[in-house]
Symmetry: C2
C-alpha cells in the first residue's frame, strides 16, 4: 500500500534519539516517509538508572510509548491512564520512617510504568541484554521503528554542580536526579557520561548508521541525549564515515529549548544556547564534524549564513512540532535539505 505523497527517498533512516523531542520528531518522520520507510532509532540509555531495584530506561520507554500509543500525551513521558498507588505507598513508608538511606520519591513512577520496569528488570536479571529486552517490550508496543539501545553496557550521565558544603566544592549526581529532583535549577559545572569510554555500541547500531539512506539528529538534547549516544566509542566515527547524509534539527528556537532544559547543560560543555551554537557544536562533516546539514527555526534565520559558512547546508523553517502533520513537514524539510536530487544550496 504505497503512499503517493511519501518521498521515494530516503527509504531507510537512522535516528539518534533522546526522549520527548526525539519521539515526537520520529512520529512526524514516520508520517512523512509513509509505509515504505524503515526507521531505526538508536536510543539514549545514559539516563537509565536503577531505582527501588528496578531498571528504568526513561528515553527508550518514551520512544516506545510515544510511537506505540501508550504515552501520556499531555506530559510527554509516562503511561496514559496511569495511577500511582505504589509510589503513594513508598511515600507513606518514608513519611513514617523519616529519612531512610537515599530512598526518595522524586521520580514519578506510575503503576503501569512499573509493569514495564518489572518486566525489564526480570529479563535483565535472567541474563538478557538490554537490546533483547527492548525487542521483547517492543513486540507489544509495535512502535513502527526498530528501537536499539545505544549500548547494552552500563553508561550513566552524571551532572556535577557546585556545592560549597562539599569537601571539594562540588557534588556529582545522576542526570535524573539533577533533572527531575533538582529541576536543573543549579547550573551544571560539568557533564560526565560515566562508563561511556568502556562501552560498546549495541548490536545493530553501527550497521544502522552505515547502511542507512539518511541519518538524523532530531531535536533532542545535544548534550545528554545525542551527546551521550555519540560518547559510545565507535558511534561518532560511524556517523562521520557513513555514506548517508547526516542532517540535524535544532532543539533550540530563539535561544530557548523547544522542550526540556537544554539551556542548563549547554554552557557546561561550552556551547552557546542558540541554533547556531548547536549547529557549530555538531560541526560540518566536510570540516571533521558530524552533520551535512542543519535545520533551524524561522526565528533563527540569521544563523543560516554562519552555519552555511561553516560548511553546513542550512535552512530556516518553522520547527514547532505542534502536531504530527507539522512535524512531518519539518521532517520533509530536513530530508529535502540533503536530498541527493536537490541542489546543493537549499
Amino acid at each position: 500500500m504505497a503512499d503517493p505523497s511519501a518521498p521515494s527517498w530516503p527509504r531507510t533512516v537512522t535516528v539518534l534519539a533522546g526522549g520527548i523531542g526525539g519521539s515526537r520528531f520520529i512520529r512526524g518522520l514516520l508520517a512523512a516517509l509513509g509505509p515504505g520507510g524503515e526507521v531505526t532509532v538508536i536510543g539514549n540509555t545514559a539516563d537509565d538508572m536503577r531505582l527501588y531495584g528496578l531498571h528504568i530506561s526513561p528515553d527508550l520507554d518514551t520512544v516506545m510509548y510515544t510511537l506505540g500509543g501508550g504515552i501520556d500525551e499531555e506530559q510527554g513521558w509516562g503511561r496514559s491512564d496511569e495511577s500511582f498507588l505504589a509510589l503513594e505507598e513508598i511515600r507513606a513508608y518514608l513519611s513514617s520512617s523519616g529519612k531512610v538511606g537515599t530512598l526518595d520519591t522524586w521520580f514519578g513512577l506510575g503503576d503501569r510504568d512499573i509493569g514495564t520496569h518489572l518486566t525489564r528488570t526480570a529479563l535483565l536479571e535472567a541474563g538478557a541484554t538490554l537490546s533483547e529486552v527492548t525487542e521483547v517490550l517492543c513486540r507489544r508496543w509495535q512502535p513502527g521503528v526498530r528501537l536499539l539501545p545505544m549500548t547494552d553496557d552500563d553508561v550513566q550521565t552524571h551532572i556535577v554542580i557546585e556545592d560549597p558544603a562539599a569537601p571539594d566544592g562540588t557534588r556529582r549526581m545522576h542526570f535524573q536526579e539533577y533533572w527531575v529532583r533538582l529541576h536543573a535549577e543549579a547550573p551544571a559545572a560539568a557533564v560526565d557520561i560515566a562508563g561511556a569510554a568502556a562501552s560498546r555500541p549495541a548490536p545493530g547500531v553501527l550497521d544502522a548508521i552505515a547502511t542507512a539512506d539518511l541519518v538524523v539528529f532530531p531535536p533532542s538534547n545535544p548534550v545528554v541525549s545525542i551527546g551521550a549516544i555519540l560518547a559510545v566509542p565507535g558511534i561518532a566515527e560511524a556517523v562521520r564515515a557513513t555514506a548517508a547524509p547526516v542532517v540535524g534539527i535544532s532543539p533550540v528556537i530563539s535561544g530557548a529549548p523547544v522542550r526540556g532544559m537544554a539551556d542548563k547543560l549547554l554552557p557546561a560543555v561550552g556551547v552557546d544556547t542558540s541554533a547556531a551554537g548547536i549547529g557549530l557544536h555538531y560541526g560540518a562533516r566536510s570540516a571533521g564534524g558530524l552533520l551535512d546539514a542543519f535545520l533551524v527555526d524561522s526565528a533563527d534565520a540569521d544563523a543560516v549564513d554562519r552555519l552555511t559558512a561553516a560548511g553546513l547546508r542550512c535552512a530556516a523553517v518553522p520547527l514547532w512540532m505542534s502536531d504530527v502533520e507539522a512535524t512531518a513537514t519539518i521532517a520533509r524539510h530536513a530530508v529535502s535539505l540533503v536530498d541527493p536530487a536537490a541542489p546543493v544550496s537549499a
Copy 2:
C-alpha cells in the same frame, strides 16, 4: 490503661509465625493479653523470593498488614483497596512476546503491595538487613508487635515433586511456585529448607525465645512455616532451652487444615495430617521435643489422651478463628494450659 479482663500472666509472648494462620492468631492473642502484653513475632522468611527483581517477603507482609490494618481481609493476604495495573502490564508484555525466559504472572502482585516490595528492595540494595528493613516498614504499620524475620540470611523453601519427564524423575521449585502456581496439586515428595543450615537467627530472635514468659506455635503450617523457622540453627535449641513454657495450637481440625494446604506437605515429612500427628511431630519437651502443651480442636478430642501420654499437656477446645474474640478465647485457652498457677493436668 490496664485492661481488667486481661490476664496478669504472661506479659511477654514470643510467637513463631507463618502468614495467614499465624497473623490471625496473633490478632486474638493481642486482644487476650490487653495493653500490658508485649508480643514478639519471629516470622518465616523461607517463603521469600525475588520476583521481577523485587524482594518479596510474603509471610512478614501478611503479619504486618494483618496486624497493621492493611490486609485484604477477604483473601487473607495482600493489601486492601488494591489494584493490579502493573501485573496487567506484565501480562500484556507476555501475551505479545510469548514465553520469555521464566517470566510469569502467577504471583498476584498488587500495585500497593509493590510499593512495599520496592521499598524493601531499595533498602536491601542500599545495604540494610532484612531485620532493619522490617523495622522501617513496621514504623508505618504499627502492628502492635515486634516483628523479627527468623534470619537475615537467604533461606528458601524448595518443594520437590515427581516429574516423569525430568532426567532424575523429580522437579524442584520454590515453595511459592508450588503453592501459588501449582496450587499444591502434585504431592510433595520432599521439602528442603535450602540455605537453612548456613543461616543464623536474626538479631533478637534467640533472646526473644529465651526471655519470654511464653512461647507459642500458632496454627501455622508445621512444615513450611514453623518448620522453616525451626530449621535455622539455634532456634529449635532455644525453644528447647527456654525457661518459658511452650504451647502449640493445632493448625488441623478433623484432619483438614484450618487454612492453607498443610495436608499436602505433612506427608512429605512423614507426619500424619491430624492434630495428634502434628502434636507428636513437635513432641514434648520432657521427651526431647519442642512443646509443653498442645491445644487441639473439640472435634479432635480423641487425640488428647494420646498427646497427654506423650508428655504434652493437652486440651480440646473450638479452634475456628471466626473472629477476633473467638481467637482471643483460643489464645486464653492456650495460656491457661501452661499457666504456672494452673494445675499440671489441664
